[in-house]
Symmetry: C2
Subunit: 302 residues, 2 copies
């Protein structure tokens, strides 16, 4: 039997610690696992109904952006200036089309803006006020920066004033999917590192680093300390490993091994290939994740 | 004889047309070929004296940024708003360290700011006003945007008002080098596409797309229409081809073939591997370039 591969979804909610130091900074772990499970279940319904992998990953990412448990969209960590600055990207495997935004301050769902960049801008990456201007042209309303800031993140910021934090990423969210047509897609969204310098951009909006999708290879979303991830183009590297014949789990493990060994990076990655089961790997203590098993049941883990 | 490979330098001044439509928009071709030759000769002196590949590519890039013939630094093309917005990146092969800036309006030499990001920021990519703020902290003076605009570019902008231009890149500059120690480095700098939307970022500051350098693979700098270059992570792709055993010229040609065939992209690339001669390829009518031959003589071509 050589039928089409079944659809597949995998979602992450950031690689980091098990306590509040590496992810959203908000404490309890259960909401993270529940959150990724909810997002994966919603995306799975899209795929089960014959929807596209691109629609599935955008839905999962937007749900996680709206969930204050995660460091993306509402609930993002604050910069050194006390603002929220958001990065996101997505890529679609059959066309290699991609869209991304970085350093955006006034959009509720950066992944939806990234999709508008992909579909309607003629460009691939828009940053800062130029990205906001494009959002207004697309009818995406201005969202006050203060509405992205939740009280727990403000309190965390206030508590950290004057204390130099460890440059740890995490709490980033991402999704990868394969649809019934065999196409793959990937999406990633983040608030970046806690107390980052304004204007700092990590791997999440960088195609090839935080996000990559190619039907000939795989769909990949990364999370963790962004700079080392960019230096080894982690998402592209893991996709290439699938293209070279590795299973998604093996490619994920190999990519994270290289991340640690070559550039001392900490992070995680999720992968869906053109066939087979999703793959996960991380070299942090935990990575919130959810995926569809071969029976279509949503599984979750930390 | 298995001595260390000789040093090597290669420089490009943008892939585009032979007339003014694809590069700086300034007309005569001779200054382009002379300009890349001057930059390559200066960088070659660094390498000949035992200097590092990183110093060599930064020197070449800064010379080309200051040369109004090229679309980088002084002489950059204007955005749809009539401003200059500059992008640049560099990467050093022995450490995989990298620095990049995007959408910067008030710095004379973005490649020097990218180097400061690499060496002193703890980050990899800074954009917009955050990048400018970092420049001031580093003692890099504010440079009025108007001083980056040369009269010929202003006239070209005025002539194009209301005319929708073709989305062609080019005139971007870049350099790749291998030093006596066998280390490689790459640098790329650009003003982006003519009449680009403010906030649009192309491949030049994206590590893996416009720039990549890894001593185990090669050093690569790309030029051309940025979005397709990002979609195939061209610089990383070409470096991987060298890592897989291709010569630099063969890897360059293969990368440009893939750029055209998979995503319909137009552009060019320069490559220096851990041994052997530099490689060049482009699928545009011309690419201004200069390089050192095996005797250490600087050659130029369009």
């Amino acid at each position: 039997m050589n039928g089409p591969p079944p659809p597949a979804i995998a979602v992450h909610g950031g690689a980091g610690a098990l306590d509040d130091s590496g992810t959203s900074g908000l404490g309890p772990e259960a909401p993270r696992e529940e959150g990724v499970g909810r997002a994966a279940a919603a995306a799975w319904e899209v795929l089960r109904g014959g929807g596209s992998a691109l629609d599935a990953v955008v839905l999962a990412a937007s749900i996680l952006e709206d969930d204050p448990t995660f460091n993306a969209g509402t609930g993002a960590t604050l910069t050194a200036s006390g603002d929220v600055e958001l990065d996101a990207s997505l890529m679609y495997g059959p066309t290699l089309s991609a869209g991304a935004v970085a350093c955006v301050k006034d959009v509720k769902n950066p992944i939806l803006l990234a999709r508008a960049v992909l579909e309607r801008s003629g460009h691939l990456l828009l940053v800062g006020e130029g990205a906001s201007g494009f959002a207004r042209e697309m009818g995406i309303p201005a969202w006050p920066n203060g509405r992205l800031v939740i009280p727990q993140q403000r309190a965390r910021f206030d508590a950290a004033r004057g204390v130099k934090p460890a440059p740890v990423g995490g709490g980033t969210i991402g999704a990868v999917a394969r649809d019934r047509a065999g196409h793959v897609a990937a999406a990633t969204s983040t608030g970046g590192t806690f107390l980052k310098r304004p204007g700092r951009v990590g791997d999440s909006p960088v195609i090839g680093a935080g996000t990559y999708a190619d039907d000939l290879l795989a769909a990949v979303s990364a999370t963790g300390h962004g700079e080392p991830i960019i230096r080894i183009t982690l998402a592209r590297l893991v996709a290439d490993l699938v293209g070279a014949g590795r299973s998604a789990p093996a490619a994920a493990s190999e990519g994270i091994r290289i991340l640690g060994e070559r550039v001392g990076g900490q992070g995680g990655v999720i992968v869906v290939g053109p066939s087979g089961e999703p793959g996960f790997a991380y070299n942090t203590p935990a990575m919130a994740r959810a995926w569809s098993d071969t029976a279509g049941t949503i599984r979750t883990a930390l």
